[in-house]
Amino acid sequence: MKKQKRPTGLTQLLVPLIALLLLVLFNLIRDPSFFSVEMTANNNGDPVLTGNLISILNGASEMAILAMGMTLVTAASGGQDISVGALSTIAASMFIKVLRGGASINAGTLLLGFLLSCLVAMAFGAFNGTLVAVFRIQPMIATLILYTCGRSIAYWINGGASPTVNSPLVSALGGFIPGIPIPTPVLIVLGVGLLFALAFRFTSLGLYMQTVGINQGAARLNGINAVGMKLLAFILLGACCSVSGIIGASRLSMVNHEQLMLDIEMDAILAVAIGGNSLGGGKFRMTGSIIGAYVIQALTTTLYAMKVASTDIKAYKALVIILLVVIASPVVKQKVAHLVGKMRSNAVGKEAA
């Protein structure tokens, strides 16, 4: 009997990569100049890169960072956190609050703002994690609480609607650092990605997370603290929320508690799914989720560039997503694998004959 070939990591990445490739091809045929990148000067006179490619890379930053954290939560708990948009807004409000509290905005206050916002977001993450890991509440139900009340909490922190800050440092954080033509959010995504890559390379974090997700009991018997791992996943997602919330707030130097990163939880979960990860937990590939985030953003930018009517945009987006999710579904994958296997054996048969 032939041994069933285990899917390697690369086949998991196949679907998101093909999706991305199709989007690229579609745009190249539609408008060959779509991906042209130009070097111009912004209104501060600093050199910056512009173009659709930069828009996509830049615009997907918040989603990509949330998708990284969401992948861990999905792997360890077998469920999704739907409060990431609200939690990011809380973190952003905290950040802006610290900046507005000080006499002037300098590197020190930025760091303090980041640390406090990170601390608060991680505490909320721990709250979600406790409900899930200790009280064994379904992740979606547990995080529904913060999803519902998170934006009100952000409003309390703001102490009014839409506080703004005015500082070149904050603009640089959400836009361009003078002299560096690459958008700062893109650099931040690289940094966060690198941190995760190092953590997976030098610790057993990834292995433990997916072991807990595959079989909690077996993990415990092997000496892995399952409750602690789930808790850690949610706390790390909290930290991701803080980073992406700060990016979101810095882009426009403002926090609108009702609008900031609205519905981003859906996109972040979608990115994980497009990345070929099982939403039921267990094995995961963070790279897939990150590519998934860029696929979603590329889709949005494409639709804007095509000037699709405002009212139709979500419908088109849904169509493409249905297609992607169905193609990535186990049933279709199995059918394709079956078909490929058949063709191979036919070929082998013919050779033998």
Binding site: D31, S33, T40, A41, N42, N43, N44, V48, T50, G51, N52, S55, G59, R151, S152, Y155, G160, A161, S162, P163, T164, G175, F176, G248, R251, L252, M254, N256, H257, E258, Q259, L260, M261, L262, T300, T301, Y304, A305, K307, A309, S310, T311, I313
Partner: protein, 323 residues
């Protein structure tokens, strides 16, 4: 024991009620959306709190909700409590007939503010509302007064189907239809600064030229301006600026952008209805008829449009929302 407690409670409530009525204050029940909804609402709630105070001879009960059914049951509660007037900014336009009829039967007089309700005008005394279509016309008239050689407009709309979006879009659509202005792009930013930024980035990347940004709220204008800044496109009142920037709502921070010359125009959407209603209540209490109502019993709030070339610090303090 339970009965005893209940009896005490009822007695206490009765005492409170009779005390409240005794001092001759006008009793109001105000139903509104929560101040956290938006900068507009926060200013609206603050305006009502300022005018309808105990010092001004009012005894006020307020209820905030974004949900129509919760608002309706609160209104019924206020009617049972025996308020003199109900002031309502409804979450939804439908479903109020029965409650308003109840109010009429109980002798409670109703004022609508900010939002209309689909019902017979005989069920309320007056409605103090904004006319979004007029806001759009004021803005477009101002834009035409600039007499630009050509108008190539990037139009960023609010959430489709909302009153504000329909009104503010209509005036510009009329110009597009008449051919006096060119529509470069017309897309919804869903009131969100981030989405507006992406839309304007896409236009810039497509290489199409434009000289006007017409954003239907301040947040989206801010997002659009961020995209312009990144691409090195000049805007505002400076000599030779490439793009005229227009917003709506008159947040204080937005008016400051006008004062700094970064934007060109901001249209007001007035949340200040309390003084008008206060005047009408005084009229009714004195037994005089209400004046200045149109056939739908509306009073349209007077709303300005601010020009960056003429705006002053006083304007910001008087008309700006938030802080």
């Amino acid at each position: 024991m339970k009965k005893f407690v209940a009896l005490i409670l009822i007695l206490a409530l009765g005492l409170c009620a009779s005390l409240a009525v005794a001092d001759g204050a006008v009793r109001l029940g105000i139903i509104n959306n929560p101040p956290s909804e938006s900068g507009y609402r926060a200013a609206n709630v603050a305006d009502f709190a300022r005018v309808f105070s105990a010092e001004n001879g009012y005894e006020v009960m307020t209820y905030y909700s974004l949900k129509n059914d919760e608002q309706i049951s609160a209104a019924q509660g206020f009617i049972t409590d025996g308020v003199d007037y109900l002031l309502i900014s409804a979450a939804d336009t439908t479903g109020w007939d029965e409650t308003l009829t109840q109010a009429q039967e109980a002798g409670v007089r109703v004022f609508l503010f900010d939002r209309m309700i689909d019902c017979d005008p005989s069920l309320y005394e007056a409605a103090v509302v904004s006319d979004m279509a007029t806001e759009g016309i004021t803005a477009v008239t101002w834009l035409k007064s600039l007499e630009l050689p050509e108008y190539k407009v990037v139009h960023i709309q609010g959430v489709m189907g909302t009153d504000a979006q329909r009104g503010r879009t209509a005036a510009l659509d009329a110009e597009f239809a008449a051919g006096t202005m060119t529509k470069v792009v017309q897309q919804t930013g869903n009131w969100s600064a981030d989405e507006a930024k992406l839309i304007v980035e896409a236009v810039i990347n497509s290489g199409e030229s434009f000289n006007v940004i017409y954003a239907e709220n301040d947040d989206m204008a801010r997002g659009a301006v961020a995209a312009l800044d990144d691409a090195g496109i000049t805007h505002g009142t400076a000599e030779g600026a490439q793009v005229v920037v227009m917003g709506f709502d008159c947040n204080k921070w937005a008016l400051r952008e006008l004062l700094a010359g970064n934007w060109n125009y901001d249209g007001q959407c007035s949340p200040f209805q309390a003084d008008v209603i206060d005047g009408m209540i005084k009229n009714l209490e004195a037994g005089t008829a209400l004046e200045g109502l149109n056939e739908a019993k509306q009073i349209i709030s007077v709303e300005k449009g601010f020009d960056a070339r003429t705006i002053t610090e006083e304007d910001i303090n008087a008309y700006g929302l938030g802080e």
